[in-house]
C-alpha cells in the first residue's frame, strides 16, 4: 500500500520511490507490511480477528490477516498482540541479512510485553530458532538483547527503565564485530539508559545461520514468545552508526 505520490517508471540514478540505504527499514506510516523502503517482502499473519480503533476512537474488528494500523498521539503504528506475526524476507530466499556486526533501532509504544518473560519484540534468525540469531526480548522486568552463535550466547539486559503501557520506547542495539552486544533504551524521548557491553563470543560458522534467515517483529522464530506492542519503526544498519545516523538515515 502506498499513500505517497507516484512519479512513473523508476530510473537510475534517481529512484522515484522513497528508498532507504539501511539494510532493513520499515516505517509504519508507509502502511505496508512489506518494507518498501528497502525492498523486502513482508508477511503479516494473525489467524484470528483483532480489534483496534480509528483516529476517532471508533472500534473496528480486523479480519485474520488485516494489519491493525492505529494512530496514537497523532502518529501511525502497527498494533500487534501476542498472536500477530510480521516477517520480513521472502519465503524461499529469506531476508538476505544475517546477524553480523550491525546496529538496530526499534520504536514501539509499550503495551505490556515487558512484564512477560521472554516476550520477543525483534528477532533475526531462522524459523527453527537455531544457529546464529539476534533477538530483543524481555527478562520480565527489563528489555534485553541476545546474540547466539549457535553454541553459546551473550545477553545485555537493561538495569534501569521500566516502560509502562502507553510509553513510547526507542530501543537501540549494537552487535559488534567481536559478537558482543549492547542495548540502549529511551522512554518518552528522555535520555537513553544503556547496558554494559558484553564480552565477545566466537564467530558462528557459515552453516550456523541456516538456510533461511528472517527478520521478525513480535515473535521469536515463526511461533514462539509472541510479544505485544504498537510498532512504528524498525531499522537495521551495518557497521557502527552513531545514534543520530541511526535515527535519521534513510
Amino acid at each position: 500500500m502506498r499513500l505517497t505520490p507516484l512519479y512513473g517508471t523508476a530510473l537510475a540514478p534517481a529512484p522515484l520511490s522513497i528508498t532507504s540505504r539501511c539494510m532493513v527499514h520499515w516505517w509504519a506510516p508507509d502502511l505496508s507490511t512489506h518494507a518498501p523502503r528497502t525492498g523486502h517482502v513482508g508477511l503479516f499473519t494473525r489467524g484470528a480477528t483483532g480489534t483496534f480503533v480509528d483516529q476517532r476512537s471508533v472500534s473496528m474488528t480486523a479480519v485474520h490477516a488485516e494489519p491493525r494500523w492505529e494512530r496514537r498521539d497523532g502518529r501511525m503504528g502497527l498494533l500487534m498482540t501476542a498472536a500477530d506475526r510480521l516477517r520480513f524476507g521472502s519465503a524461499t530466499g529469506g531476508l538476505g541479512v544475517r546477524a553480523i556486526a550491525q546496529a538496530g533501532l526499534l520504536e514501539i509504544m509499550e503495551s505490556g510485553a515487558r512484564t512477560t518473560a521472554n516476550a520477543t519484540l525483534f528477532y533475526l534468525g531462522n524459523d527453527a530458532i537455531s544457529g546464529a540469531r539476534l533477538y530483543l526480548d524481555t527478562s520480565g522486568t527489563y528489555y534485553r538483547i541476545t546474540f547466539h552463535n549457535g553454541t553459546t550466547s551473550v545477553t545485555a539486559t537493561l538495569t534501569a527503565g521500566q516502560p509502562m503501557p502507553g510509553d513510547t520506547v526507542l530501543l537501540r542495539w549494537q552487535l559488534y564485530d567481536d559478537r558482543s552486544v549492547q542495548l540502549w533504551q529511551s522512554i518518552n524521548g528522555a535520555a537513553e539508559t544503556a547496558t554494559n557491553r558484553t564480552s565477545g563470543i566466537a564467530a558462528p560458522s557459515a552453516s550456523a545461520f541456516g538456510a533461511t534467515t528472517y527478520a521478525r517483529l513480535n515473535s521469536r522464530g515463526s511461533a514462539s514468545n509472541g510479544g505485544a506492542g504498537w510498532y512504528r519503526l524498525l531499522k537495521l544498519m551495518s557497521g557502527l552508526p552513531d545514534y543520530t545516523t541511526l535515527l535519521t538515515q534513510r
Partner: protein, 262 residues
C-alpha cells in the same frame, strides 16, 4: 531541525546554512483552459485545470574549514540529493513535499582557491506540487456516512472492504448536501477472513487472503464506476462540516493523507 530536512536529514547536519527557499508557502500554479466558441461572446471556461509541477529553489551557504572539507560537504550533499526526496520544514513539520533533484549550482568567491565558503543554489522538481500529511489518517467506514476531514487540495486514498461479502460492495462519497458525488465498487465473493483493498492512489485493487498474501483483484472492479477524489469544497470546512464516505454494506476502513496546496 532548525529549518528544513531532506529525507530526514536536517540541512544543518549536512553542513549547510539555508538562506532562502522559494516558492515555499505559495500554492501550485493552475493552468485553466478557455475555449472560444463561434458566435459566443467571450470564451467558455473549462471546468478542469491543469496543475503544474513546482520547482523548489534552495539557496544555502556552505562554510567549510578547508578546501578538502568543502569537497567532503559537497559530496555529502550530492549524496543526500539522490532519489525521491521527502522534504519537511520546521514551519510545517507535519507536512511533507516530494521531489527530485534537478540542478545544483555552486558559486565560490574569487579568489576561489583561497576562499572556502561557497554559495549553493539547488533546484528540486516537485512533479506533484502538493504537500501531504506526514502521518496517514485512518477512518472506520460503515453504512453510516462518516465525515472525512480534508486539506486544501484533493485527496485520494485506500478503501478496505472486509469480508464476508458476496456480490457488489460500494463506497459512496457524498457532499454535505447528501448528493452522491462519487462511488467506487467491486463485485466479489470473499470469506470472513479476507479483505479487499481499493487503492485510489495506485488505482489498483488487491485481495488479502487469510494467510496475509495479497493478489491482484482488479477484475473485481465495477466497470461503470470511476475513481474519484475527495475535496474540501464538497463540505463546509469553516463549519467543520466535511464530505462523507459510507459503505452500502459491511465494514471497512479508509486510509488517506490530507493534501495541501500550500
Amino acid at each position: 531541525m532548525r529549518s528544513l530536512a531532506i529525507n530526514g536529514w536536517p540541512i544543518e547536519t549536512l553542513g549547510l546554512r539555508l538562506v532562502n527557499i522559494s516558492p515555499w508557502l505559495a500554492g501550485a500554479q493552475l493552468t485553466r483552459a478557455v475555449v472560444a466558441m463561434p458566435g459566443y461572446s467571450g470564451g467558455v471556461p473549462s471546468p478542469f485545470a491543469t496543475v503544474t509541477s513546482r520547482i523548489l529553489t534552495l539557496e544555502s551557504i556552505v562554510q567549510p574549514t578547508s578546501m578538502a572539507h568543502r569537497l567532503q560537504l559537497l559530496d555529502q550533499y550530492a549524496d543526500a540529493l539522490d532519489g525521491l526526496l521527502e522534504i519537511e520544514s520546521v514551519d510545517a513539520p507535519d507536512r511533507v513535499l516530494y521531489g527530485t533533484y534537478q540542478a545544483n549550482g555552486v558559486e565560490v568567491s574569487v579568489p576561489r582557491f583561497v576562499e572556502v565558503q561557497a554559495a549553493l543554489r539547488t533546484e528540486i522538481l516537485c512533479a506533484d506540487g502538493a504537500k501531504y500529511d506526514r502521518e496517514p489518517s485512518a477512518i472506520a467506514l460503515s453504512t453510516t456516512p462518516t465525515p472525512i476531514p480534508l486539506g486544501t487540495a484533493a485527496s485520494v486514498g485506500l478503501f478496505r472492504f472486509r469480508g464476508a461479502a458476496a456480490g457488489v460492495r460500494r463506497v459512496l462519497y457524498r457532499g454535505i448536501n447528501g448528493n452522491v458525488l462519487g462511488a467506487i465498487g467491486v463485485n466479489m465473493t470473499i470469506g470472513s477472513s479476507e479483505c479487499v483493498d481499493v487503492d485510489g492512489v495506485q488505482r489498483g485493487i488487491s485481495l488479502c487472503d487469510a494467510s496475509g498474501v495479497f493478489t491482484n483483484a482488479y477484475p473485481f472492479k465495477l466497470p461503470s464506476d470511476r475513481w474519484f477524489a475527495l475535496h474540501r469544497t464538497d463540505g463546509h470546512p469553516a463549519a467543520d462540516a466535511w464530505p462523507t464516505l459510507e459503505l452500502d454494506g459491511g465494514t471497512g476502513v479508509f486510509y488517506y493523507r490530507r493534501a495541501w496546496s500550500n
